[in-house]
Amino acid sequence: MTDVHLTVGARPRRQRGGSSWTSFALRRAGGLAGTVVTAVVVTFFIVPLIPGDPAVSAAGPDATRAQIEQVRAQLGLDRPILERFVDYVGGLFQGDLGHSFSLNAPVADAVFRWLPFTAGLSFLALLVVLLVAVPLGMTVGALTRGGRRPRLDSAFGYVTAFVAAIPPYVMATLLVLLFAVTLGVLPPAYTKSSPGLSVVLPALALSIPSICLISRVVRRETAVVLEQDYLRTARGWRLGAMRTALRYALPNLLTSTLTLSGIILVGMLGGAISVETVFGWPGLGLGVVNAVTTKDYPLVQGLVLVLAVLSALMTMAVDIVLGIVDPRVRGGNNSG
């Protein structure tokens, strides 16, 4: 990556122009389609392996055997699984994810009700991560390059390693204790009356460990980039620290930072399950927990499918951005 900006204003030579983009897009689209098909098949056939009888769960502990069987028939669970699968796939083509028996509502309605919460929370957390981690990592990298300020370097390393190791669930609990219970400055959980304030703590719980992780990577990359010859040249031209950092150092950090951010964003969807539980945040994560608890197969299948598709879409989006930023990626060397 360090040879990209050797000459001011230089642009890397395009590799076979449009064909590299076509091939790149086809590979990514194929990967996305494969992921979706796999998710549909796996979620449909794996979810029923969860122990427990959804008909009993839906009928309740007071139901007689006959009533349980009646509920099983109403839910269509008495039909052969392949027949149900064909119906399920047919429904998917019409945007029908099934009917949740715990919510007594279409799964798609629940997904669209919860999705904005999870998406909003995840993207806000990612924004915070990028806005804080990149400048923080670059600043520390610049201050400590070439062995300067070793104590700052060590302190930064220890603190970020410690905080990054804190699981989101624990981080969430600590934040609630500090800012909601003790200081009383932020709501401890989602409240309908102030969703804007409610999102602050969950976003922090998701972003703080990631800030530490990404800032460590950025610090390391910055320290390496700043020692490169082309940056010595840039400094020799007296372009100024800020201009040097933004124009010549930052672009070379983007590939690794974006790659890591994509992975972290996908990971945030998983982390959201625990964080949403702590904060009562009505997103997909909390929905999955409730759906598994109630053995609501259609809801679990729908939510897992949506989460899988979202993850695949985000991975593809990161790949495309990387392809724009770093044309070498389109060549297939770094295709993931």
Binding site: P54, P61, S100, R113, W114, G184, P188, N290, T294
Partner: protein
Amino acid sequence: MRYRKLATLTAVVCLTATAGCSTEELGPARTDGTVRTVLPSDTSSFDPALTQGQQSFQVANLLYDTVLRRDANASLVGGLATDWEAVSATEYTFTIRDDATCSDDTPITAEVVGDSLRRLADPATNSTWRNLVFGPGDVEVTAEGATVRVTLSEPFTTLPQGLAIAQAGIVCPAGVKDPKGLAAGTVDGAYSGPYVVKEARQGLSYTFAFREGYDSWPDYATPLTGEPPSTIELSISTDQSTVANQILAGDVELGQFADPDVVARFDAQPDLNQYPITQASTYVVFNQRPGRAFADKPELRKGVAQAIDQEAFNAVFSKGTSEVLNSIAPASFPCVSDDRSLLPGHDPEAAKKALQGTGGVKILGNTANRQYSGGADYIYQVLTDAGVEAEIQKLDNATFWSTIAEGGSDWDIVFLGDLNSVGSISASLDRVMGASVEDGGRNYSASVNPEGEAAFAEGLAATDEDARCAAFERAQRSLLERTDVVPLVGGPLTYVTSADLTMSVYDDYADWATLRFGAS
């Protein structure tokens, strides 16, 4: 400078670490007539006949009035009925009040009540509450003038208690005509109770609005005072600590907690109101199907009972906060045995003597919450200490119930939490005697106890309260003497409300329709 930064960092870390130990201060109270509360899971259906789970019953209490209502001291009071009579063990009449209306202003007549009860009794409705309300036999409901007459093919003298449960709430004609809309909460005229569904966003939140002009309150022995909430907003959270935080922050006015550690957080908050109830009964049940370890072996079952120390179990289960049971239902229920001499008592030496070398015992544990999980660990530990070769399998709540509901599944001992929403000992007795689950009954153990079953049937046929209680107590005596069950403790639940919000609790039954602001 360096040290100042370090000091700041240290202060932040220490503040975070000690936050949990500091005194929690209440957030500002709000008085806009709205109650904000949080349920542990979604309400399953707005159709009272099909609703499942404690949280759904509470919602049904808000939306639907019942023919009778529970009052203090295990008594019933008129709800939609002003008067009622048990003509015989199979025939009951109810006189319906003339001032009640549905949410679409349709008068609630005897015919309206009769239609709703007929729907509940109809096997096609597939209500799991049907047999708990009317018993297992055929049901005929007729309406004439202001009188509703219920005729049963089999005696079932706990019918009045059954008609007081939220699941027997009266659905107005608009709801009866549109069952799907009724279940989804989209039929505006379906409600007979004080509230209507203003907004239902399944999986997210629900809003209920008080019906202007509603005044069909039950004639409780102690009249309700104060103002009912104008709006009740529900959201969903599975985490009790989160809800506790919200109450302490003043974001929520009503919460419910089973975890004693969470409840303890409110002890230093005298301004909050606490309403502890016993919402379930826990007891050990033995699988007595042929070939199982405890089938036809009362001496082994007694050994298990002797191995268990109820007080020690209570400490594990609820940190000693639960009611220690004498039978399979809380003491507040009518006709519950209080004779502790029927219990073998804790005797570890006798237990060891009886159980030493007993092998192949499979315990099923329920991980519904950490209390139940810890309780299962306790049972496993005392049996192992007594020399039983036991294995324990822990299952989530839904799997646990579906496993024991199968009948022939692989287990020998479970301890279950029996949520008896009827408030009658009979609704717990048939879980452990009578027809087994595989034969269409509710008896998980498949025990065969002719003496107990005869007493149980006698109780269901006795219109005289004293005679009924005497019969039910004989049934419990038989059950306990055979050690078909081992009573443990109650499953505690504590409702916590903000300072200005009160609720009435009638013998371990919390009725959300009695929520009031500014009650004296």
